[in-house]
Amino acid sequence: MAQDFTSPNPIGKKVLCMEDEHFISELYVRALTKAGYDVTVEVDGREGLKLAQTDQFDIILLDLMIPTITGIEVLRHLRNPAETKPLRAKIIITTNLEQREDIRADIEKQADGYLVKAEITPRELVEFLDTIR
C-alpha cells in the first residue's frame, strides 16, 4: 500500500520511492520532503510497477531487492515499450546489492542513475536529485 508524504513546500517534483526497508525509506522521506519533494513510498514491487506506469512521477527511486517482483523486473517492465509508454520519470536505482558487472552494466544502461545507498547520506541523495532536470 502506497503512502503519500506531501511536502510543506512543494517544488512540484513527485518522487516514487520503492523501498521495503522501512528505516531507510523513513530517512529518505524526511530528507526529501524537507527539500520540497512530494514522496510516495511503496514497499511492493508489483504495486510499485503499477504506480510507476501511471506516469505521475518525476523521479523513481528503485531498490533492487523488493518483494513480489524484484527491482530488476520492475525496470524491465518499465522499459518495455510494449507494456509501458515512455516515462517522463527518471529512474534512479538505489541499492546495496552487489551485482555481477555484466548484470550491473545492463541495469545501468536502462536506468538514469545508479546509487549505492551505503555510499551516500540522505542529504547527498537530495543533492543528487536536485541535479536531475
Partner: protein, 481 residues
C-alpha cells in the same frame, strides 16, 4: 733483488674476464629462455589437456616470440588430437573392427566440440556439445553459434574480437580463454569453461573454426560461490551502514549549533568512522573483484586537479577528527589525464587514509603535491611526518594483507589498501612508489599518464579505453549516470 709491480697491474684483465664471463652467462641464460619458450608453451598445452593435470592453466601464446605461428599451429593440433585421442585408443583396443569416421570419433568424444563455417554457423557439433548445451542435433546444426553458445568473457578480449583480428591477417591461429561463462536459456544453471579456438582460413571443407570446450564449472564455481557469499555479506553490512550514516545526517542537521563542543566532536568522529567503514567495504569488494579478474577500468579524459581535490575533500573530516591538517600543492596547468575516476578516487582515498592513520608524531600534517615530472607524467605524492616504515617492511608493503608487525598493535588496518592501489595504478599504466624513514614519516607517490599520450589506443575505436587490472571493475557509483 725485489721487484715491485704496480699494485693493480692485472686488474683490467681480471675485470675484463669477469665482465665477459658474466655477460656470457647472461646471454646464455637469456637465449636459453628465449629458445625454450616455444617448447615450454607446447608442454603447457599438453599439461592443460591431460586429465591428471587438469588444474594447469592454458598456455599463453603471447609469451612466445620465436616461431609463434608454428607453435600456434602445433598447439592447435594438440587440442585437436586431445579431442579424439581417448576414443581412438578405445576403438583401436576394441575387438570390433569399426570404420574410424571423423564424426564417429567426434561424437564419442567426452569434450564438447563445435565446428563453424565462415558465417559462424554450426556445421557440426558433437554429442558431448548437445548434452552440454541441452539441445538436440536439429537445434544446433545450421544455427548461428551465438544462439547455441551464449558466451560471456571476463574481459574485452573476446572470441569475436580475436576472430576479427585473425581474419585477414592469419592463415591459421589458436587462442585459449579461461573462465568463459555460458548462459543456458531458461535454465538457472550456469557453466564455466576454458575455450580453445582453432582457426583455419583455407580449410577445403569450409571448417573455418573449431571450438573445444573444457568444462571447469566445479573448479571455477567455488570462486563464484565465494563471490556470492561476499556480495551477500556486503549487502548485510551496507544496510546498517546506510542507516547509521542516515541517522548521523539527521542528528547533525537537527543539533547543529546546539551541542556542547564535546558532543559535536563525538558526532564528527562518528561520521568519520562511518565513512571509514564505507571505504573498508569498498576495499573488500574491489580486492575480491581484482582477484576474480573482474576489475575493469574505463579510462576517460579527466582534469586531474578537481578530481584530486574532491577525493581530498571527502577525507577531510577523517583528518580533522584526528587533528591532521592537509596542505595542498597542486601545480596549475597540469595536462588532462586518462583515468577511471571511480578507481583513482579509491587510490587517493586509501593513501590519504593511511597518511592520517600513521600521523602519530608531533607534526600532524599531510602534504599533497601534484606536478608534471621531467618524463611528462603527472605525479601525485602524499607525504606524512608520522611513524614511518622500517627498512625491513618496505619490500612487502604492496602485498596483499601485509601489515608491518610493529605497527599492527598501534594502527588498525587490513593490508588491502596499498595492494589494491598498486593494482589500480598499474592498470592505468602508471607506477606507485614509497619513500620512508622510520620515525620521520613516509611519502607515497603515483604517476598517471597524460591523456594525450594514451589517446592513440582509442583512435579508430570511438569507444572508451578499457584496460583490465589483470582483468576487472569499479564500485563507487555515486553520481554515475
Amino acid at each position: 733483488m725485489q721487484r715491485y709491480l704496480p699494485e693493480h697491474d692485472n686488474l683490467p684483465l681480471v675485470s675484463f674476464c669477469l665482465i665477459a664471463l658474466v655477460s656470457l652467462l647472461l646471454v646464455a641464460w637469456g637465449s636459453a629462455r628465449y629458445l625454450s619458450q616455444p617448447v615450454r608453451t607446447i608442454w603447457e598445452a599438453v599439461l592443460h589437456i591431460s586429465p591428471e593435470t587438469a588444474n594447469t592453466s592454458a598456455p599463453d601464446l603471447k609469451k612466445v616470440h620465436l616461431g609463434r605461428e608454428l607453435v600456434a599451429q602445433l598447439i592447435g593440433h594438440i587440442y585437436q588430437i586431445a579431442s579424439v585421442a581417448d576414443d581412438v585408443a578405445k576403438v583401436s583396443n576394441s575387438d570390433h573392427k569399426l570404420e574410424l569416421r571423423g564424426d564417429f570419433v567426434a561424437n564419442s568424444l567426452p569434450l564438447p566440440v563445435v565446428v563453424l563455417d565462415k558465417d559462424m554457423n554450426i556445421l557440426f557439433a558433437n554429442e558431448a556439445l548437445h548434452a552440454y548445451v541441452k539441445r538436440s542435433e536439429a537445434e544446433t546444426t545450421g544455427q548461428n553459434v551465438y544462439l547455441v553458445l551464449d558466451m560471456l568473457f571476463s574481459n574485452q578480449n573476446t572470441f569475436d574480437k580475436w576472430l576479427e583480428d585473425v581474419r585477414g591477417k592469419k592463415v591459421t591461429a589458436v587462442r585459449t580463454w579461461e573462465r568463459v561463462r555460458l548462459n543456458l536459456p531458461e535454465q538457472k544453471e550456469m557453466r564455466l569453461f576454458d575455450l580453445v579456438a582453432y582457426y583455419n582460413k583455407d580449410n577445403p571443407e569450409g571448417n573455418e573454426i573449431i571450438l573445444t570446450i573444457y568444462d571447469r564449472t566445479r573448479q571455477y564455481s567455488q570462486d563464484e560461490q565465494a563471490m556470492g557469499f561476499l556480495a551477500l555479506a556486503v549487502h548485510e553490512l551496507r544496510t546498517p551502514l546506510t542507516l547509521l550514516r542516515g541517522y548521523i545526517d539527521v542528528f547533525e542537521e537537527e543539533f547543529d549549533g546546539k551541542l556542547s563542543p564535546e558532543l559535536t566532536g563525538f558526532m564528527r568522529k562518528m561520521k568519520a568512522t562511518a565513512q571509514q567503514l564505507t571505504t573498508f567495504i569498498g576495499n573488500v569488494l574491489n580486492v575480491a573483484r581484482f582477484e576474480n579478474d573482474q576489475l575493469i577500468l574505463k579510462l576517460r579524459e579527466e582534469e586531474w586537479a578537481p578530481l584530486l581535490k574532491s577525493a581530498i575533500d571527502d577525507v577531510k573530516l577523517r583528518a580533522d577528527v584526528r587533528g591532521v591538517s592537509f596542505t595542498l600543492k597542486i601545480d596549475d596547468n597540469l595536462p588532462t589525464v586518462g583515468v577511471d575516476a571511480v578507481s583513482i578516487y579509491e587510490v587517493v582515498n586509501n593513501l590519504l587514509d593511511n597518511s592520517i592513520k600513521y600521523s602519530k608524531g608531533e607534526k600532524k600534517e599531510v602534504i599533497i603535491k601534484s606536478y608534471l615530472t621531467s618524463n611528462g607524467e603527472v605525479e601525485t605524492t602524499v607525504q606524512d611526518f608520522g611513524v614511518g616504515i622500517p627498512e625491513s617492511a618496505m619490500g612487502n608493503l604492496f602485498e596483499k594483507f601485509y601489515r608491518d608487525y610493529r605497527n599492527r598493535t598501534q594502527v588498525g588496518g587490513t593490508g588491502m589498501g596499498l595492494y589494491l592501489s598498486k593494482a589500480i595504478i598499474s592498470a592505468h599504466g602508471g607506477h606507485i612508489w614509497v619513500r620512508s624513514k622510520e620515525g620521520q614519516g613516509s611519502t607515497f607517490g603515483f604517476t598517471l599518464t597524460p591523456y594525450s599520450r594514451i589517446d592513440d589506443e582509442k583512435k579508430g575505436t570511438g569507444e572508451d579505453i578499457t584496460r583490465s587490472a589483470h582483468g576487472w571493475i569499479k564500485n563507487h557509483s555515486m553520481y554515475r549516470r
